[in-house]
């Protein structure tokens, strides 16, 4: 499906006027003006975010992607390796390292690196008997609704390029992110909100910044819009200080009337798109604050997530994600920093790691439970993961930590057409490499698009003379994890 615009001059920017406009001006008057502009030759195109049909029946309508910025240690959370514990402190056999590349190559490999067992207790949970470490007590309670993929492999071992790779399928800047591809392919059901929303928590922004949710060469209509959980939710959403709502409304009404006159005069359908954009902007001024207003949420819900109304948190963003999905937003991505357990100050595998695990555990589990109890989980795919895993070998800094590791890490998915209580993939006895069912990032992308009813090979956009796709020239749908 190459959604090339009919009129490449205008790009994918025209709005299906009659389906979605309404506010203010009488529809009949508007329709007659529009008719006149059509007589002048302005064929109305379709609004870029108008819902579009899937390529085949979809399993999921929406996505909530919980992005753990950095590399959470799968060996201390999900991938239980008794043998690694038994070999703690012993050098890793050479056969594992041959031909492999790592971050911090110089400093980490001056001395032969030794294996590091986990200090965390693992237990099996749920009907499915899934292994989860003590650091995720709440998450342990949702394992029967989750598919664990223990063998996710990536290409890139530095943060910014790896995060880009996970989001865009390329380590190079300038490619569209998964959320942009999804809204490009499907549009959005949200009438009054952007189709792709980004929420952030943790001590700093994710490395690489806005390119992680950028639209690359796709039109900017598809880029992720950062939504802040408190205060002004969207940049420039608030009417400027000193200007009353009435004056703002009068200004917008005058802009519209004058734009309409110009539309009639010139016949340029781009003006109709702009009128519609102002209407959506106006509606967003009300709908975005409403979306982040938690006053309607019950105490039980707030308690389930562990949300303190007065504080920003990952848990709050999880709750907001549910609210956004309810309002038709297609793709919500949460970033939580900082998962980088090298062992240096603020990033050790002990209390620092416990802290970040604690920050996400209750919220992410509550999200899955809440979606399920509201009947939203069937239509919503929840994805959890970082940008790569961590090594079975220890890394010595102030304390012992683990280095970046691209061979294998664990991610989990829930709802939206994936199996429940299922584990896909197996790593070797040290948790170093996959020995069965390796799932490359490109495969994951292909599968996510598949669940959304999109064929990763047919969702393309022509740029610089080439048809680009999220999966570049790679990717196989991982059918084993489909429910």
């Amino acid at each position: 499906m190459n959604l090339k615009p009919q009129n490449p001059l205008h790009g994918l920017t025209r709005r299906h006027f009659f389906s979605r406009c309404g506010m203010g001006l009488g529809s009949i008057a508007l329709a007659s003006l529009m008719d006149r502009s059509q007589v002048l030759g302005a064929a109305p195109g379709s609004h870029p975010l108008a819902p579009k049909p899937t390529q085949f029946p979809a399993r999921a309508k929406n996505v909530i992607y919980l992005f753990m910025a950095g590399g959470p240690s799968q060996l201390d959370l999900f991938d239980h390796k008794p043998r690694l514990n038994a070999l703690n402190g012993q050098p890793i056999p050479d056969s594992y390292l041959e031909g492999k590349r790592f971050a911090f190559m110089d400093s980490s490999f001056k001395n032969k690196s030794t294996l590091l067992g986990t200090k965390r207790a693992f237990r099996q949970h749920g009907q499915s008997g899934m292994w989860v470490s003590e650091l995720f007590p709440h998450t342990a309670g949702i394992v029967d609704d989750v598919t664990f993929v223990r063998t996710v492999a990536t290409n890139v071992f530095n943060h910014a390029p790896a995060k880009l790779f996970m989001n865009t399928g390329s380590a190079q800047f300038g490619r569209p992110s998964m959320g942009a591809w999804a809204t490009y392919g499907l549009g959005s059901e949200a009438e009054n909100l952007p189709g792709f929303v980004v929420l952030q928590s943790g001590p700093r922004g994710p490395r690489g910044g806005a390119v992680n949710w950028g639209s690359g060469f796709l039109p900017t209509s598809y880029q992720g819009v950062p939504l802040r959980g408190q205060g002004e939710p969207i940049l420039n959403l608030t009417t400027p200080a000193g200007i009353s709502a009435e004056r703002q409304q009068r200004a917008i009404a005058a802009v519209k009337d004058l734009n309409l006159q110009r539309l009639v005069e010139t016949g340029d359908p781009e003006i109709a798109t702009r009128i519609a954009a102002y209407e959506l902007a106006y509606r967003m001024q009300t709908s975005a604050p409403e979306a982040i207003d938690l006053s309607g949420e019950s105490d039980a819900t707030l308690k389930l997530y562990g949300v303190d109304k007065a504080k920003p948190s990952f848990a709050r963003n999880c709750l907001l994600a549910r609210r956004l999905i309810e309002r038709g937003v297609r793709f919500v991505q949460l970033y939580h920093t900082n998962w980088d357990s090298h062992g240096g100050p603020g990033e050790n595998l002990e209390n620092d790691f416990e802290k970040v695990c604690h920050e996400v555990d209750q919220g992410q589990a509550a999200l899955v439970k809440d979606l399920k109890s509201r009947g939203l989980l069937d239509d919503t795919l929840v994805i959890w993961g970082g940008e790569f895993g961590r090594t079975p070998m220890g890394e010595s800094r102030d304390k012992t930590g683990r280095n970046h590791h691209i061979e294998a890490t664990t991610m989990w998915l829930a709802g939206g057409g994936v199996k429940s209580g299922y584990v896909l993939g197996e790593t070797d006895e040290l948790g170093f490499s996959p020995i069965a069912d390796r799932v490359h990032v490109h495969d994951l992308h292909a599968t996510i698009l598949h669940l959304l009813g999109l064929d990763h090979k047919r969702l393309t956009f022509r740029f610089q003379g080439r048809d680009f796709r999220l999966t570049d020239v790679h990717g196989e749908v991982v059918t084993k994890l489909l429910a």
Binding site: R101, Q172, G174, G205, G209, G465
Partner: protein, 826 residues
């Protein structure tokens, strides 16, 4: 000729008849070359079959020989042409079938024994863009009184063949605003509009064009387009995204456009200015073009990996910007569609693999002169100080020995610390510290030191800029298998793609071709691509789309030109101009000469200003942009240019128009990038929370192109209007139209500030009765029609009732800055 005889052949009437046997070279080979060798030739041989020589064809491929001499019906070639082969699809694959007459020609030749010469040069079909352009004849057209220059002849001929008529000229105000925005990125002032309307000379418009081409803002406007291609930004990119200083290169570009530096020189200096004989500082600054690559400063990276990424980026950017080819496709494998092998990719790579990446002091000649003068003043002062130190030095030991606890206590701490060490244990830096401490206790020394410091204060700090320099020791070059730098393949030497014009070296000192050879090869007029690619991009800025709509792909997967002859004519005229230049006449205010072309001087080769002049004075450019019902079906995307196009302004120009209308614009050219206000929190979106301290004073109101560009967190008002992302060469800005743009114009503090300024300006500069019209003209250049006037008056009345006059004008100004027309070039 073929068809007549083939007709007979097809009817089976003529067998060895009077027209004789089919000649392979004259009749069969051109057919095969035209229809088949793109897929069955030297560049690719699908199914193992080549049809570029008869010998290769009879040798055959996976499905056997292409023909059996004397037995046409059994021959594979005939079977696939006639769609009756069991396994192989009808050929040419997914293209229109050959005509019966053409098939009959092939049949007849095979039946007659498939005779062909033994020594045969392989047939080769070159894609149109790889054939050097020749100056086409300018078509004669009717009505010839519409056409103003050759451009119009080409456009009108194409329109006529489609049964379409061009649009009338745009009204004068629209035309003035259009050309001024296109050439300088700034709207005309109301006074300029009035003056233009009052200038009734027949060449009033041409005079405006000359004024604009000589405005320094011309260089900003067209320089910015070049910055898009060069992926210019003020930070290093990747995750750390630290600031960098490369704005002197940006200023070099603006100056080069203003000086109308010929395009060939412009490119040669940017690719290889450092290698030119006796390279000037400016020529070395020019090499910043390829220092606009990103730099990864993240911990734990393999620096070689990211050095290589930069080199790959330089190859790809050169290919995109100057050849219009998707060169990057050949990084991992031979190009799938265009005649470019992976080896050739790495031959280009080899040119860019030999550089170091130093920085260079930039600055005006005045700054350098000032610094030289200051240093000259400092020299005797330093000599005086040194001499004094020299005479004092022998007395140090005595001085130290004579120190009492009290006198010691008066010395600075660090001096006392050193004196606490035994002389043998003092390091050289500590010895110096102690000596300085001693000197300063001696009469006259401090005073001499102060005199030197005072003089040094005048020394200007010169900005640095990033440049390229050739390495003394060359690196080895390899093909990377599948593009992976950890997998080295065969060695390669610098070289250029074989399908393009021949490469001649001769400038290299070492005998190995270098970047200068590459740059000169690129700008050789025999190059079939670069001139076409560039005139197409210039055209695209004026009409929204290029003559080749895929401005970034002139290869086989790109779209063909809508006006191939016009493209070639423009390309040749750009390289070797023949149309005379009237600009010198037009600059003298009183002469309204109508000289004939033959008396006019010929402009310089590769002159951008000449190209602009031709396009913006054409009747094609001057047409009205109003949508026409009759075109809706015949040419809905306006490919044939029966009218102009309305184009939303570029991100930077959206800001510039608001600055100009409000009267706040600071028109200063160049210098360090600035920090206009932006919403809080934007800088937190990146890994490093960097400070954005809004500029104060006049720097707050600089043109949009001077806004400091952080790659990871670009200014939201620019990003939302589709500014270039500075990651790879941007060949065309998108023109999206989104609610976030509406929120920006409505609510962004910077636009609100400018709206307030506009409101004040309207009240200050116009008498009450004319304010509405004056404000409207500041933003759209034209006067409002009665309906618009009435609507705006209603707004003013309502607002005045609600909040008083002051607030009414504020709302009025906000409405004007939000109009679609204000941010559109009509």
């Amino acid at each position: 000729m073929i068809s007549l005889r083939a007709l007979f052949l097809a009817c089976g009437l003529l067998w060895g008849g009077p027209l004789g046997a089919v000649d392979y070279l004259r009749e069969v080979k051109p057919l095969l070359t035209e229809q088949c060798v793109t897929c069955h030739g030297a560049e690719q041989a699908k199914a193992g079959l080549r049809l570029d020589t008869a010998a290769a064809a009879s040798q055959g491929g996976e499905h056997g020989a292409a023909w059996v001499a004397g037995r046409a019906a059994e021959s594979l070639l005939v079977q696939v042409l006639e769609a009756r082969h069991g396994e192989v699809a009808r050929m040419p694959y997914k293209k229109p079938p050959l005509t019966p007459a053409q098939v009959a020609t092939v049949r007849a030749w095979i039946e007659a024994g498939a005779q062909a010469p033994a020594e045969e040069v392989p047939g080769r079909k070159l894609h149109w863009s790889l054939v050097p352009p020749l100056r086409p004849a300018v078509p004669a057209v009717h009505p010839s009184n519409w056409a103003r220059n050759p451009i119009d002849h080409f456009v009108l001929a194409r329109l006529a063949s489609a049964g379409l008529a061009p649009s009338p000229e745009a009204d004068r105000v629209t035309l003035l605003r259009r050309v001024q925005l296109d050439l300088t990125g700034l709207p005309p002032t109301p006074a300029q509009v009035t003056a233009f309307l009052a200038d009734l000379r027949p060449d009033a418009y041409e005079r405006v064009v000359e004024r604009l081409l000589h405005s320094p803002h011309y260089g900003e406007r067209w320089g910015r387009h070049w910055l898009d291609l060069a992926r210019y930004a003020d930070s290093n990119g990747y995750s750390v995204d630290a600031p960098r200083s490369i704005w002197p290169w940006r200023d070099w570009v603006v100056n080069a456009f203003n000086a109308d530096q010929p395009f060939d020189q412009f490119v040669i200096e940017q690719l290889a200015g450092d290698l030119l004989p006796d390279a000037t500082r400016e020529q070395r600054i020019a090499t910043g073009f390829h220092r606009n690559t990103q730099l990864n400063e993240e911990g734990g990276i393999d620096p070689e990996q990211f050095r290589i990424e930069s080199v790959l980026d330089r190859v790809n950017t050169t290919g995109t910007a100057l050849l219009g080819l998707t060169v990057g496709c050949a990084q991992c494998h031979d190009h799938k569609f265009d005649p470019l092998s992976q080896r050739e990719y790495f031959q280009l790579y080899a040119f860019f693999n030999q550089q170091d990446e130093p920085s260079l002091e930039a600055g005006s000649s005045e700054q350098f002169a000032t610094r030289d003068a200051v240093r000259a003043r400092m020299k005797p002062l330093r000599a005086e100080l040194d001499a004094l130190a020299e005479t004092l030095k022998p007395k140090f030991a005595d001085w130290e020995a004579a120190l009492t606890p009290e006198t010691r206590e008066q010395l600075p701490l660090e001096v006392r610390t050193v004196l606490g060490l035994r002389p043998a244990d003092r390091k050289p830096a500590q010895v110096k510290l102690a000596l300085d401490g001693f000197y300063r206790t001696q009469p006259g020394y401090r005073e001499a030191e102060q005199r030197l410091k005072a003089a040094a204060k005048d020394e200007p700090v010169l900005p640095k800029t990033l440049v390229l320099a050739e390495r003394p020791e060359p690196r080895d070059n390899f093909i990377f298998i599948k593009g992976d730098f950890t997998r080295r393949g065969a060695d390669v030497a610098p070289g250029t793609p074989a399908v393009l014009h021949p490469f001649s070296q001769g400038h290299a000192r070492s005998g190995i071709p270098n970047r200068l050879d590459l740059a000169r090869w690129l700008m050789n007029p025999a190059n079939p691509l670069t001139a076409r690619v560039m005139v197409n991009r210039v055209w695209q800025q004026y009409f929204g789309l290029g003559i080749v709509p895929t401005e970034n792909d002139f290869g086989t997967q790109g779209a063909p030109p809508t006006h191939p002859e016009l493209l070639d004519w423009l390309a040749v005229e750009f390289m070797r101009p023949e149309i005379g230049d009237r600009s010198s006449e037009l600059k003298s205010p009183d002469v309204s000469a109508q000289s004939s072309n033959s008396h006019l001087p010929t402009p310089a080769a590769w002159s951008f200003k000449h190209l602009h002049r031709l396009i913006v004075t054409s009747a094609t450019y001057r047409q009205a942009s109003k949508v026409r019902p009759d075109l809706a079906e015949k040419d809905p995307t306006n490919k044939l240019l029966a009218r102009q196009n309305r184009l939303r302004l570029d991100a930077e120009i959206v800001r510039d128009v608001a600055l100009a209308a409000s009267g706040r614009l600071n028109p200063t050219l160049g210098g360090q990038s600035v920090f206009p206000p932006q919403p809080d929190g934007v800088m937190n979106l990146g890994q490093s929370s960097r400070e954005w301290k809004p500029s104060t004073g006049n720097d707050r109101f600089r043109r949009g192109m001077y806004t400091f560009y952080w790659r990871a967190t670009p200014h939201p008002a620019l990003a939302v209007f589709d500014t270039a992302d500075a990651f790879s060469a941007c060949t065309r800005r998108l023109r999206s139209n989104t609610p976030l743009q509406a929120l920006t114009l409505l609510n962004d503090a910077a636009f609100v500030e400018l709206a307030d300024a506009l409101a004040q300006r309207i009240q200050a500069e116009a008498p009450e009765a004319q304010r509405l019209e004056f404000g409207f003209r500041l933003c759209t250049s034209r006067t409002p029609n009665p309906a618009e006037r009435a609507r705006l008056q209603t707004l003013l009345d309502e607002e005045a009732r609600d909040g008083g006059t002051e607030k009414a004008w504020q709302t009025f100004a906000r409405v004007l800055l939000n109009l679609d027309e204000t941010i559109t070039r009509e």
